[in-house]
Symmetry: C3
């Protein structure tokens, strides 16, 4: 995953344009992405698909003709969605178009101007302090013209038409944690799941933030009822503890599953209530849809100083964090896949476990005792009303153990799955 | 309000009699009170309207003929509802009719004998200690005869027939906090509300405690279903923190509103559960009615040492406390008036706020961020099921802010009120 | 109760056999037990009634012919349900059949082999350490043959057919707390209740653990719906605090009643959630029945070191603990007996208590105030929906006080019981 991020890092992405197409093309090497192109001007609910933005070059030269700010050094230098300009101006005029972060004087901030046609440059505050009262030459060789909004989608069919939605935003330029990490994790999750047998169908979408999810929801409004669970994938490469932001419902199965998995993972983590800010869960959880979609991150957006700055670079994320995030996502999906209701075929009194050898499994004494308690809990709650997740929650035993015992008891014809 | 209390203070009130009529007459200068006179002997549920009590004079003279206790000095000196007496007696006989407060030797206690025909005097314990073994002359020039129970009512019609009941007890003699403070606050609240446009109709009642609310409920039994919310007003002039005693229901809208307003007021306050003792909420919340009526006080009855003594005087209450209590009541009623359900007209995804200038309001950065979050919360919860109070509770944003944002969004045709 | 335990202590009980019959015969002196004999081989749900086990003698002799382990010294020496054997063997062979408790080297453990036909001896670890490498003579004069499973039952009819089930296990040999204490407490409870008038019918069952309750449930399946509440009686003689293990339902009336009684008893106690391990509540609370049966103990099974060892002897239990356990059980049953719904006959406003003398009861001032508050609470909640238990829970007043006040108010025609 890390090496794919390295390949994606230099590309200048935005909510539209060639950077998005190049990025999806790289991810298409791993999974068969279907690319959608939605024309500028298309009405999507209360919004309109904007003009397509592309940029070839941009710089600021001083009076000696030296490029003191150069887009080729960092695509964060340009206010994303800047209109073209080629002009000379004094420092006072230029200054109104410069953005810096005084509290982190070496970092370049990331700023956008999607819905306000202007231009600007972002630079480190130290660079800014070196600027003189002189004449500057400013060039932004960009275009803002009718074109398309581009997004990628991969549908992986399972046994049923019930869907799990996995969504990531792809609109940020050279920022690694937010959200190249989410883009590659989603890709590798899709690649892995395509190799195993699945109860649910999966829909992976790679979209520009906000306008992308709005566009996708608008185009898929009639089939949203198939979505039973969903996750927004973002900020999964940093070294912070996991953060799960619940869906607007707060007690959806996806919420309970992620909380359960995190609890039994014994990893440090934070569970936070839904609030209507953040990533595309804002749209999925808008009142007209209220989809059961949460957001599973490491450090939450805005909660680390490197957020939306040039410091969210290749050093800020680590391969092992991506790997453990990947495994956590797999655990969550694995619980959803196997979370069925259980019905005892001997519901009146306990079945006799001894004659079936169910008390005699090998293992350390403690393991045997926990396993025996798990057997008794699973049998006791297998009334056809409790799911395996319910059993895990009530018994405080991990879902994995409950599931393993459930499978053994099904083999012994003591339990059956019910829907 | 304080000067009206000064005018009411000297009057000797009881559950019936001229003192009540004089008091209501003073309040009638501010609001058009309708005066009801219910004859003695009228059956009201399990009770009977008692004989009317009036008193002209009362004293105890020592053997030298000096008035050592004089009703004209304080109407608390007389056991309220004492039958007439004119007699001479020795100290031992007199002593059985004397009431003092040894733990506060300078204060005169307030005592009553409504349903037991006897007589008595209340005096400070220091006065009592000076009494000698000598002959005393005792006079109580009172009358206890068939007459009327008097109460005042003011009905203020609003847009709908749904009513808010505001009730205060008027039966105490010279006690300021309990409850001249409640009587004047209710009067000025009524006066103010009569000058504004109202969704609810309001019914203000000025009644003797217990027998008064029982009588009123008995006379108005058929129209009680119109009462949607109610508050008993008492002890609102002292300097203690606010106390809200919930209705018997515990989760009525009035309970949630008062708790919400107090929480966001950042004033120190106590929320207490309903218990079947206190003021007229005892009757409104009796099981056959179970009206959503709470009691909003400053220091709760019985919780301050001056309670029911001569120390609950004009010094014990302050004009600024009356004022802040008045404002709190207004805030509560204002929330009730504007607590409607909100429905988004763009419920599928967020509406585009930028092009409506809704991100551009002036103000400090922090204010802008809070305001923006409020906009997002109100939009997100405007599914036609949540009231503005629900939104305030879930977002932990003040009702005032939620309401202000709601109004702005209605202006922009993004939301509408639904019932 | 203690002296009956002394009589029962020496008998070697098991899940079947003469020891059970002798024990039930002793208890039959106090209550008219109906004895049930279920033939070996009878199918009971997933189980089969086992062969009947009886034992006359057992010992291990060393090479000098000395009885170094003798069943006549303690019936715990024999692995319960051992098959007969008469053989000579060396130490290495014998060792595989010996069970000790190294962490308590003076105590003999209690072990069973109900469903695995083998044999063995239990001994103190100190005894074990003295054994030499020599030839041993081993005798177990037992029989394991078709016979019967024996249990006792006493049905005490009340006013209604609704039943309270009181169940104790009778299968342990010389162990006092677990469960001679439960057997005698159940017996004396039955004896006492047979002398008083009862609303509920009671069913007391004296059964071997697990297989006994399974057998009883199997034989009585069609009448289980009459069981409205139940308790499993065990470990009620030790000096630890009370422990209540809730029914699987967790909020059954029996759960709320025991918790209420323990709370107001001011005795130290623990409330624990249901878990599917322990005594016969495992069967009563299996998903096919889910009966409202909890387990009321002093120290819970497995939570004291003497549990299932020779140290659970006549010194480990005390007569006064048995007595206080008995009184607690009586309090619980007394609440169940009198927990009716209450309806006010004056539900509109408070009734006038003064003219009925209900404010004038003798007693200390504090008692009078608590009593008056109780009167007001009971009246206020007597809407025909609240039980006396509900009233006790909401008012935080003891059930006994609530019940006493309820009875007084019924006498005064202010309340009536409703169902």
């Amino acid at each position: 995953m890390y090496s794919v991020i390295e390949a994606l890092y230099p590309i200048c992405r935005s909510i539209t344009g060639e950077g998005v197409r190049q990025s999806l093309s790289i991810l298409s090497k791993y999974i068969p992405l279907e690319i959608h192109e939605i024309p500028s001007g298309t009405k999507v609910f209360d919004w309109t698909v904007p003009k397509e933005w592309n940029i070839r070059d941009a710089y600021i030269k001083n009076s000696k003709g030296e490029k003191i700010i150069d887009f080729k050094n960092s695509n964060l230098h340009i206010l994303n969605y800047s209109v073209p300009i080629k002009d000379k101006m004094n420092f006072d005029t230029l200054k109104k178009h410069l953005h810096t972060l005084p509290e982190h004087p070496n970092w370049i901030p990331y700023r956008t101007t999607y819905y306000d046609e202007t231009w600007g440059f972002c630079l480190s505050h130290n660079q800014f302090l070196e600027l003189q009262e002189e004449e500057y030459e400013v060039l932004i060789d960009s275009s803002l013209e009718d074109g398309y909004l581009t997004y990628g989608e991969y549908y992986l069919p399972g046994e049923t038409e019930n869907e799990i939605l996995i969504s990531c935003h792809i609109c940020h330029p050279s920022l690694c944690n937010d959200n190249l990490s989410g883009m590659v994790l989603t890709t590798f999750l899709a690649k892995y799941l395509s190799s195993v047998s699945l109860r649910y169908s999966y829909r992976f979408i790679f979209i520009p933030g906000t306008i992308g999810s709005i566009t996708w929801l608008s185009k898929n409004e009639l089939s949203l009822s198939k979505i039973k669970h969903g996750l927004v994938v973002a900020c999964v490469g940093d070294s912070g503890p996991f953060t799960y932001k619940k869906s607007r419902r707060g007690d959806a199965e996806i919420d309970r599953v992620v909380i359960n998995v995190l609890k039994h993972s014994e990893e440090e983590h934070n569970i936070i209530e839904f609030f209507p800010y953040g990533y595309d869960e804002r749209q999925y959880c808008s009142p007209g849809f209220n989809l059961p979609v949460g957001c599973l991150m490491r450090t939450s957006h805005g909660q680390y100083p490197e957020y939306h700055t040039s410091a969210d670079d290749l050093d800020f994320i680590q391969a092992e964090n991506l790997a453990s995030s990947f495994l956590l996502y797999l655990s969550v999906l694995s619980v959803l896949e196997s979370n069925t209701k259980s019905l005892s075929l001997n519901s009146k009194c306990e079945p006799q476990l001894g004659r079936r050898g169910l008390y005699d499994k090998l293992g350390a004494q403690t393991d045997k005792e926990i396993r025996q308690m798990t057997i008794l809990w699973v049998l006791n709650l297998s009334d056809g009303e409790h799911t395996l997740l319910d059993i895990s929650e009530r018994s405080d035993l991990s879902f994995d153990l409950v599931k393993e015992v459930f499978d053994t008891l099904v083999e012994h014809n003591l339990l059956t799955e019910v829907s």
